[in-house]
């Protein structure tokens, strides 16, 4: 959106970004030649940093998708983790230790080898509090994290006690508690390796990062203009097709206009232009479910929202589809507390997410009605979102007779750790979103509704729920999923929040390129799969 930095794509009413990960094709399988060569351009935002441990936003992670190969990717159907740069990951019987062996013979873009030490050094650096790295908290499950992040004073050590290098290509990770989803998290860029060059000069590295992925930097990062990549000739995995990739940086509507003018090859399509894209670019438009759940969070600490029936009524009274048809075109109505491309998602699980005015009225009555004015909060600076909020408020008014009011809060306050959301001072529902860090059901349950969840801003407290999560965390990866689903059932009944919708990951492209595909489980374009039409090399057949 015009002016908003943290946007997944232009026109999307989304400001909640993180990334999950994946890399290119599941390693090892050989691809048919396809077309090698050529240059293509793709829309991107301006990242905060180009160091994987220091940028959380999609602008950064999309770049990392090309510059690095992550430890694991995600299976296209089950979304379970599959080794990528890792060769094997074995969990100990007590569930606390993971033995990770990486593929040998891989090199960074500067020719130095990728070793277990590269991983351990990188993780220690990010976990070390005084470095102030944004993804520091990703390491909080590893033994030794607290020593590196004391509440006061300087840490006495710079290394996590839970990390041990066992050879050139092998290292072990010991956690403080068993965590069945740990392997999922390894697909996140926080766990990418770093070459020695990084430690010599982190600032210079930020301008021209050196990864181990299919693409390397072609010159320095040109702030607010472009990040240019070129194929890394010595890549040990499946090479990318195109010779060069331009990640062009845009703000506002300019990317869409540039695409229409034929200057930009691939772009993301948000709510604002999806209707047009469906009409005029239907042959290249790809709409896929994305990894974000948008929802209306509720202040359970306020008396009006403490009755379960009232909450259910509020959810039943909104015609999500109508608002999406008119305004938030890139979204689909939610039917669970997590989006489809996540292990554990069940279609139609949320019975109170259906639009049913009569039932809503009934529930509201059973719950004792709603007193006073309902203030609907959302972050400012997103015109499309504001329109949508107006529509929702109108629906509550028209369908349930509730007096409503809108409140646009400036983003700095909205997302602030000392703002009303985090300090539990909200007076009404607020627009919220959660983009996964990794495609696991646990990621959508524990952080938001768990008693110790880092993002439990609604105040939800349910001991049985927490116990179920705990049990699941200790089980094996396979066994844990149904257990998590049991926990999901609890909140599907309790409705501590109102699931709204899923944000689509939609792309369009021109005739210059083909094979424009999304990374499974993550909201990223697979940069190495895109083929440039008419490039030198064997003629087209998509792999």
């Amino acid at each position: 959106m015009r002016g908003s930095l943290r946007v997944l794509a232009i026109g999307l009413s989304l400001a909640f970004v993180a990334a999950a990960c994946s890399s290119n094709s599941s390693g090892g399988a050989s691809e048919s030649p396809g077309q090698q060569g050529g240059t293509y351009s793709f829309y991107n935002g301006e990242p905060n940093h180009l160091i994987p441990q220091n940028d959380y936003e999609s602008a950064g992670t999309q770049a990392f998708q090309g510059l690095w190969t992550r430890l694991v990717d995600f299976d296209p159907t089950t979304y379970k983790p599959v080794p990528a740069q890792a060769d094997s990951i074995t969990q100990s019987s007590d569930g606390l230790t993971y033995d990770i062996t990486i593929k040998s013979g891989w090199t960074f873009h500067d020719g130095t080898p990728v070793t277990a030490q590269s991983y351990v050094d990188a993780w220690n650096y990010a976990a070390y509090g005084p470095n102030g790295y944004i993804l520091n908290f990703f390491f909080d499950k590893i033994e030794g994290y607290d020593a590196l992040n004391p509440s006061s004073g300087t840490p006495k050590t710079k290394e996590l006690s839970g990390l041990k290098v066992n050879g050139t290509n092998e290292f072990t990770v010991t956690l403080t508690h068993p965590f069945s989803q740990f392997e999922y998290t390894l697909g996140f860029d926080a766990f990418d390796p770093l070459p020695k060059a990084f430690f010599d000069d982190p600032k210079a590295f930020d301008e021209q990062p050196i990864g181990d992925g299919p693409y390397m930097m072609d010159g320095k990062w040109q702030h607010d203009q472009t990040i240019n990549l070129q194929r890394y000739p010595d890549y040990a995995g499946t090479p990318g097709f195109a010779d060069k990739v331009e990640l062009r940086i845009y703000q506002g509507d300019a990317a869409w206009l540039d695409f229409q003018a034929g200057n930009l090859d691939i772009t993301l399509v948000g709510s604002d232009h999806l209707n047009e894209a469906r009409k005029s670019y239907s042959d290249t438009l790809s709409e896929e479910p994305g990894a974000t759940l948008l929802y209306l969070n509720l202040p359970l600490y306020q008396p009006q929202y403490q009755n379960k029936d009232v909450r259910q009524a509020l959810s039943l009274a909104i015609d999500r589809q109508a608002v999406m048809n008119a305004i938030l075109v890139a979204e689909t109505p939610a039917d669970d507390f997590m989006p489809p491309p996540v292990t554990g998602y069940r279609q139609g699980a949320c019975q109170y997410c259906q639009f049913n005015v009569d039932l809503a009225k009934q529930k509201l009555q059973e719950g004792g009605g709603f007193n006073g004015t309902l203030t609907l909060n959302f972050y400012a600076d997103d015109t499309t979102l504001e329109q949508a909020m107006e529509a929702v408020a109108n629906q509550w008014h028209d369908n349930l007779g509730i007096t409503t009011k809108l409140n646009a809060i400036p983003q700095n306050t909205y997302f602030s750790g000392s703002g009303p959301i985090y300090t539990k001072k909200m007076t009404g529902p607020w627009w919220d979103g959660w983009t996964e860090d990794y495609p696991s059901i646990q990621d959508f349950l524990e952080p938001i509704y768990g008693a110790n969840g880092g993002y439990n801003t609604s105040g939800y407290l349910n001991k049985t729920f927490d116990q179920t999560l705990d049990t699941a965390n200790q089980q094996s990866l396979e066994a844990s999923i149904p257990t998590y689903q049991q926990a999901d059932d609890m909140i599907l009944e309790d409705m501590p929040a109102i699931p709204w919708g899923y944000l689509g990951f939609n792309t369009v492209h021109d005739d210059n390129v083909t094979n424009v595909v999304k990374v499974p489980g993550l909201d990223e374009l697979d940069l190495s799969k895109v083929q440039v039409v008419g490039a030198s090399g064997a003629s087209a057949s998509a792999s």
Binding site: H49, P130, F137, G252, A255, T413, Y414, F415, G454
Partner: protein
């Protein structure tokens, strides 16, 4: 125009600039919200990370302390850094040429077109051209229209960005320049007409001096003072970074940078940008005054 006056003007620049910096700093500081937490989206930052970044940028200090840290840096030529670690000076150095090119482009259009309109309208008074100068289209509208017609539909010119070299600046310069040309044209026309109606001019024409020469040499010259003043103001305004135009056309200039800085509450960046604008403005003003004094010796500032 005495040296004493010049020195006095230069000396007065300092308190004015300090005052401007203080006000802008205060405005940014007072804005509620937390710039640091934004770095992680809506996921919570680890407390250690949060504290570390805050301490690094003195955000845990009271306002006055932060202000003095800033002034201290300024005295050493250091304009501070953004919260992602980039030097403000580097950012300004990157953005400055873009805005400069846009300014020069728009300025050229303004001067040439504006003066042309003015003279033509003045000479052919009361014709349609007279009123045509008064067409006013806000920058927002003009920007979109030009971008759509010439960029998207006709493909003659780039739609956004500065990738295509000089041609990237054509549409944005037109967007800004046309409006400014129109207002300059109006102002200049009034002045020109004004001067032409002066007795001394009519006397000269009555005496037989060729009309065109009179208009060209003398009338224009007399009108120069207010025209130069306005051009100076417009130049300074343009150098402040035409925010809307840069946003519409995705030009990574000073104005675009400012919007980003304000929205992310990047104090040092915002203060740096506005200070730069203010400096340019003050010195342009001074220059214009000096120039006017040279053109019209009757002007005295004492």
């Amino acid at each position: 125009m005495s040296k004493r006056y010049l020195i006095r003007r230069l000396l007065l620049v300092v308190p004015v600039l300090l005052g401007t910096i203080l006000i802008v700093f205060a405005l940014v500081f007072l804005t509620p919200g937390d710039p640091v937490n934004r770095l992680a989206g809506n996921k919570p930052l680890a407390p250690s990370t949060y504290n570390e970044i805050r301490t690094r940028y003195h955000l845990d200090q009271p306002f006055v302390v932060q202000y003095f840290y800033y002034l201290d840096g300024l005295a050493h030529g250091d304009l501070g850094a953004t919260f992602t670690g980039r030097d403000v000076t580097d950012i300004l150095k990157e953005r400055f040429p873009v805005t400069l090119k846009l300014t020069l482009g728009a300025f050229a259009i303004e001067v040439v077109l504006g003066l042309l309109l003015a003279v033509v309208a003045a000479v052919k008074r009361r014709t349609l051209l007279d009123s045509a100068i008064l067409v006013f289209t806000p920058v927002i509208v003009l920007g979109f229209v030009l971008q759509y017609v010439f960029g998207v539909k006709l493909h003659w010119l780039p739609v956004a960005g500065i990738r295509d070299g000089p041609s990237s600046y054509i549409l944005p310069s037109l967007t800004l320049g046309l409006g400014l040309a129109a207002s300059l044209g109006r102002l200049a026309r009034s002045n020109v007409l004004d001067n032409m109606a002066g007795e001394h001019i009519r006397a000269a024409i009555a005496r037989g001096l060729p009309r065109r020469r009179v208009v060209g040499r003398h009338v224009l010259k007399n009108s120069l003072v207010p025209i130069v003043t306005i051009l100076g103001l417009d130049f300074a305004y343009l150098m402040g970074g035409a925010v809307i135009t840069e946003t519409i056309f995705n030009l990574p200039g000073l104005g675009y940078s400012l919007i980003t800085g304000i929205k992310t509450q990047n104090g040092p960046l915002v203060v740096g940008l506005v200070t730069l604008s203010a400096i340019i403005f003050v010195f342009t003003n001074l220059f214009v005054d000096l120039l006017c004094a040279r053109i019209d010796p009757r002007i005295s500032y004492e």
